[in-house]
Symmetry: D4
Subunit: 180 residues, 8 copies
């Protein structure tokens, strides 16, 4: 069952680069920071922490930011909770004219947590989670390398991830320039 890519994803060949209209302010940033700590914090709790704002305003602002594609609030599953202790990066070299097909196929595999196209040495780079290195190897040899257009792979174990996208914060340079 292929994953349906959400609009939040940075789309390939996004012809319509719809401009984000909503102009965030300091209050929005405070709300986002609260949701970074706990995505399920209630609007009333957020309002209490920030002060000078109603629960309803908090709820409205969250909805707006989600709708405008500024943030997304989502569960993130911990692969290790399911015994998937091994992370591996796989660089995929692809027959000259099959890059997009291969990249799309990779998103469908359930071991795959990340798929990106690349302009460097590799054509497509993916990250997988697995129970052990044998499962990584089986995935590489029986899935990735059997898919037509895949020419070569280099796999590298990722011993630890110290920061991931859901820990990224709005940069200070942005924070300092928003309206009070």
């Amino acid at each position: 069952m292929p994953i349906e890519l959400k609009s939040f994803t940075k789309l390939l060949y996004s012809e319509i680069n719809t401009k984000i209209m909503y102009k965030i302010d300091k209050t929005d940033i405070n709300i986002v920071n609260a949701l970074l700590e706990d995505g399920r914090m209630s609007a009333s709790e957020i309002a209490r922490q920030i002060g000078d704002i109603s629960e309803r305003a908090v709820r409205y602002r969250i909805e707006r930011m989600v709708k405008e594609g500024i943030i997304r609030v989502s569960a993130i599953i911990n692969p290790q909770a399911f015994g998937m202790d091994i992370y591996a990066d796989i660089w995929v070299e692809v027959e000259s004219d099959k890059i997009l097909e291969v990249a799309k196929k990779m998103t469908e595999y359930e071991n795959v947590t990340y798929v990106a196209s690349s302009l460097g040495e590799a054509d497509v780079s993916i990250q997988v989670v697995a129970k052990d290195t044998a499962e990584v190897y089986r995935f590489v040899t029986e899935m990735v390398r059997k898919f037509p257009g895949v020419r070569r792979t280099v796999t590298s174990i990722v011993p630890s991830i110290l920061k991931d996208i859901y820990q990224w914060r709005i940069p200070n340079s942005v924070v300092e320039n928003v309206d009070e």
Copy 2:
């Protein structure tokens, strides 16, 4: 201001590999799937969608899964909403005995969305977001390469990300083996 790494992160040198005790079931998986769609869906709405479960039970199970480190619910900020259109992977080669120091330093930079140690050609790999390639370049030359212990970097533009960790689902192999 350095980022405090959350316990959810796969820690480097995690001596105490605390076992996860909570045994999830089909209902938990349904809840997780709902939260993947919308991390702020109310417990009552989730209960309604799943059926045969009280709002309170949903709330309890979410709390439990978060506490046990099975899931995390979090805002994820869209860098593009702040004009940060450019994604780049940077592979960092480090003086033999400085890997951990460099990796930790990298997590502190606000352009950096991902930091991992690697067992392959690079020692540390990071992903950054930036307004344009000039900002990427400035970051590489003035931040990363000026940090002691960094020997060499190779930077590669990431034209598109087709799948990321917050889109990853519990694999079918796991789903099929949980209790009803």
Copy 3:
């Protein structure tokens, strides 16, 4: 004697990204195309070729485009006319924190026709012209590699250049969208 970089050059760290205000039209494009053929074609000859425009208007438009940084009209010296038959690309790997210094130094050498910073495997890439491969080698070993901060070079002969920047034309996609 170091070369003074003209404002036309894509500057490193250009903080003031002065917006180009002048909006070109079809007539401007016709003028540019004429100047691509012969940069010294007189305004009156251009006016005659294009039709429906005065010599004075042609002169004004050229001045304007030059002033706005849209085009530059320049002599381009043919190195082969001076017996410099050999072109070589040199990729320079630089000590982590010396990229800009090295790049700037390279612009000063009179054998060097091109200097760019790079985000790939090399840190700085240059092109040189020389009388023979011995001169290329002498330049690499006695100039480039003796400059502090240069760690390694890879030199590659360029047997032929089939197109260069002064042969580049305004893309059709742009041409089609300008006003009549």
Copy 4:
């Protein structure tokens, strides 16, 4: 519409290596330096700056040097003036016997500002300009890599160009040896 390569270009397989007959002198060099500053400087202005030469002599010498292939005077279009802010180098590895065909095809694309054959790791190297990295990527995946004979590409962003061919001057070693 393929570009017609001008005779100024260093031709591939140039069987007839016509010798340049015209012997330049110090006055010619002064004229060339003036035209490097401003390719449209009038002959009378150049004569005035140099002194001891008639406007007509200046005009004659320029014509001669152009005709002999010593210099070319041309408009050079600033890609950034058309919103093409991104420069990228693309190294193209080609099926063993398709090098020339691929190189020639590359000259025809309107994003391409530079095409050269290479004797190093790559077979053909090109430089492209584009509005953003997405356009670079689209060009690589849909144009370059779809052309028969292209086996592999490595793309690298060029954050800044500090010197280009139209800024190259006649080397001092040459200047010192010409007749007064």
Copy 5:
């Protein structure tokens, strides 16, 4: 005549990862250390060296450890005793979907002492012994590279082996944690 792989080998895709039930103690470790010195030391001699154990108990424990797959006692042939002085590592790059076939074939060649699959740059890595480098070369060009699916090989002479698997001892961390 293909070699039958012994169960001791770390099997590819070992679906049944039979757990080892036997819990070794300090006495077992003493026995193993004796057998590392001399695999044919008699049970009575081992009993005498260790003390406080009967010959019969020693014999029983060895049998048990072999049966459980904890140790193997085997002759190891010295290739140099047969004039095979040259050791070489060969990295084999394989057509995307032929890894397992190629790896299996390699085990059958009598020059080959080691075959492993790899997740790095190579797909399969082997070690060979030979009388001289000419025999290595003949093996590479006439055997390995003629086998369908082999795309490329890189061969590297191994001037000396300072430690091999039969010299590996039970790590102290394990030794310290076993029961007296």
Copy 6:
């Protein structure tokens, strides 16, 4: 506690290349094959299997072959029996004049099962066993890369070993040429 290298090991810089004097025959080969199956098979059982030879002669021949360095009989410990499921190859690049020191140091680590010097891209190559990839990583970053003279490492997981030195047999070409 450093490992004392046995004389069986292919020694570095072996000045005295003592010639092996003992000339093996078909009977010896039969004995070796028996010992490859089971290194602890009794001399009487071997004599019975081969036929036409006394137990004493078998014992004498084994002793002789061991003494002459033709074979070694040894326990080989299965790292997986101690929970060490992960095998990894580590290529070590060493400061120009430290190769031998680094190689010797590597033999002392208890995770290391194989150490060899190399004439290819790496200077020293080792194989390690570990409980998990985190232990591999800890070993690389805290042991190998902290040792003076180590400049760089590349680590690659070995998903499966299909053949190892203790499974190598006397080549047919040798077998066919020995006396009856």
Copy 7:
């Protein structure tokens, strides 16, 4: 017209490794050294320089050493005397099973001064001489890369050769061990 390889060449797959029977002494070495200086020095002049030997004995010893394949006396043509100033090394990667065919073909080209098979990254390495880099390039693209089985080439200019095989002398270690 293919070159007939002389028996002096280190032959590929030399099954008959004919042992050299003639045992050289100090006098032979003196003769060889004289012939290294001037291959056409007359036997009488050599006899005079060495002393205590007849012209006839010198002649006999030279003939013997040539016949036994110890030395060869030959003209060596200086490519630069024919305007072939450019030396280039070409590394050729070959389809898995075509190494020998490609290597043999390369020996036939008249630009080629050296052909060897290799066990490293390349499969065949050659050296060529040419009038200029354009001729090198034409040779690579029209000859080498058009030959079936050639997959890829990397060409590198050789700016200077400081020592070549005809300047190699008998090592001191050999000289010291021969009989007076």
Copy 8:
């Protein structure tokens, strides 16, 4: 004892590129071809084979060609005749400013048959002969890598040399253009 480089060697930085004045003709080429077969063929025998030329003329022409640097006649020692069966190429990467020193030092080692500077990945490339791979390794680790300025080496065994410089002939293109 360092080798004195003969003037025949293509010198580094040869400022005085003395032009070769002697114009060879068909007769010279016939003489050279005879000397390629046998460098010690007597002038009278050469005269007999060619016809229509006196012995004295042959002698004069040889002397002239040697003096003009067109040919050299020399003994070439067969390393295999001294038990040096192993050929290896060593690529040497050198500290940025030590290329020439390292290259010169390499010419002095008696195992070294070839030294060249390079403009590709390596800085200096050498070829060595040795009794066995252990001697190659000892040479690399104890000589080459201990010399100050040497940063890294990659060594590759050369299984066979199919053509060498002393087998190179005057190209047909040259032969066809000389006077009768």
